[in-house]
């Protein structure tokens, strides 16, 4: 699960990089070029399959582990557990589920259109993600939901990245503090980076 998660961490960075090209003031040329590259390059196409595998594995493992974890305590405590824990680490399943719901919406809006499963809205071409994005983010409700999704992804990532290091066996008296800091920075950058785009659409256009 940690391995699949780490893979997703890399993917998110790439995705963010491309999305941020939206901000370039070139009427979407750079973004569209990158999107088209991602959509046509055979290596990337291959990676896409791996990526889906990674997502599915990560979710599947997450679910299995959560089911097993709940089963390991058949009789629950009467008093709420007050043990001090790593921030939000108890709610990885919850934040994971919210992120999954978001992902489903995201697929309907973008990926399924791309592969032709869902018809694009009127006036937008199937492969024109740039305009598709602008149309979607013009809707304030959609933008808000989008940002909430990333807020939870941020929470998820904040714990996930440093936990993945721990699970892979990396814990060191000198470096673990740095890993935890990097994990927080990463989650803020990713969540914040994605959230800038709807804000930009809302306020600058």
């Amino acid at each position: 699960m940690a391995l699949a998660g780490l893979f997703l961490v890399v993917f998110l960075l790439v995705h963010l990089g491309i999305n941020l090209l939206l901000l370039a003031n070139d009427d979407g040329r750079a973004f569209s070029a990158a999107a088209s590259f991602m959509g046509t390059n055979p290596v990337i196409r291959g990676m896409e399959v791996v990526l889906f595998g990674g997502f599915l594995l990560h979710m599947l493992f997450g679910l299995l582990v959560s089911i097993r974890n709940r089963a390991s305590r058949p009789v629950r405590y009467q008093h709420r557990n007050l043990s001090e824990t790593s921030p939000l680490s108890r709610y990885m399943l919850h934040s994971g589920i919210i992120v999954t719901i978001f992902l489903a919406l995201h697929f309907i809006d973008f990926y399924f259109i791309k592969i032709g499963l869902v018809a694009p809205p009127a006036g937008v071409e199937r492969h024109d993600f740039y305009h598709r994005t602008l149309v979607l983010f013009a809707d304030k409700g959609y933008s808000a939901a989008y940002m909430v999704g990333f807020l939870f992804l941020g929470f998820h990532l904040n714990h996930a990245l440093q936990a993945a290091f721990q699970t892979m066996g990396f814990n060191h008296t000198k470096y673990t503090g740095a890993v935890k800091a990097a994990s927080t920075i990463y989650s803020v950058v990713v969540a914040g980076g994605f959230m800038i785009i709807p804000l930009w659409v809302m306020f600058s256009r």
Partner: protein, 257 residues
């Protein structure tokens, strides 16, 4: 001091059990948590009621027998102490105190607050030792051990096997306990020899007994009365992955005479 106690009562493993409320009065703030329970039991005996059964033995924080889940935390509100080292001055006068047994499928309740922790023994039996006999041993100073490693090994070996890690873990995972034992040996040259075999066997036994998985909440470290570090869990993960990837297949040798 006076307290309202809400204590889990359960006649035996088959009984369903539930919380029962008791009042205790006139408790000295200097008495230990168990002395407070002793007083409750004396009161119950004089009323002809079955006293509350709880596990306890050394009452000085080292044997690891005591195992009470107090107000949502194993061993109560203080850090780095066992239940037996807890004193009533750590509570407010008139406070409601919830007392429950450790909860984990692998730790079935035997009676009231007493659980069966023999799952821990089974894990140790699957590899928590160095395979040496009492003869043919080299001199104790034959192999120098770096002081840092020896101290770190001691820190892990200080585990008292109480099970607070399991009790506090949202997943009832035994990773801190198992990793403390794996680390204790992994850090010493004497234990390294059979390190690959040990970590694989102990993890397999742990998994088979129905403990949950580690999701890195670190509640175990926060509640461990001996403050065992989760760095041990990372070390075990490292050992385990390395063993799975690099260890040779076990060779079964059969010989005839």
């Amino acid at each position: 001091m006076n307290f309202t106690l809400k204590i889990w009562r359960q006649k035996n493993g088959a009984d369903k059990g539930g919380l029962v409320t008791y009042e205790v009065k006139g408790i000295s703030p200097d008495s230990s948590f168990f002395e407070m329970l002793d007083m409750l039991n004396q009161q119950l005996i004089s009323q002809g009621v079955d006293p509350v059964a709880f596990d306890h033995d050394c009452r000085e924080g080292i044997c690891g027998t005591c195992s009470l889940y107090i107000n949502g935390r194993p061993h109560g509100p203080l850090k780095g102490v066992t239940t037996c080292q807890l004193h009533m001055r750590s509570f407010q006068d008139g406070e409601n105190i919830f007392i429950e047994p450790w909860r984990c499928g692998a730790f079935p309740v035997l009676k009231d607050l007493i659980v069966d922790r023999s799952a821990f023994d089974k894990i140790i039996q699957s590899g928590g030792y160095v395979t040496v006999n009492s003869g043919g041993i080299p001199d104790a100073n034959a192999i120098p051990v770096p002081k840092h490693d020896s101290d770190a090994s001691f820190d892990a070996a200080a585990c008292i096997g109480c099970g607070a890690c399991v009790a506090s873990c949202p997943n009832a995972s035994a990773m801190l306990f198992v990793s403390a034992k794996v680390s204790h040996f992994a850090l010493l040259p004497q234990g390294r020899v059979e390190g690959e075999r040990r970590v694989q066997n102990m993890v397999a036994t742990m998994d088979s007994l129905g403990f949950g998985n580690c999701s890195n909440t670190y509640a175990c470290e926060a509640e461990c009365p001996k403050e065992i570090s989760v760095a041990n869990i990372a070390r075990m993960n490292r050992e385990f992955l390395a063993a799975k990837v690099f260890a040779e297949k076990e060779k079964t040798i059969s010989f005839s005479m």
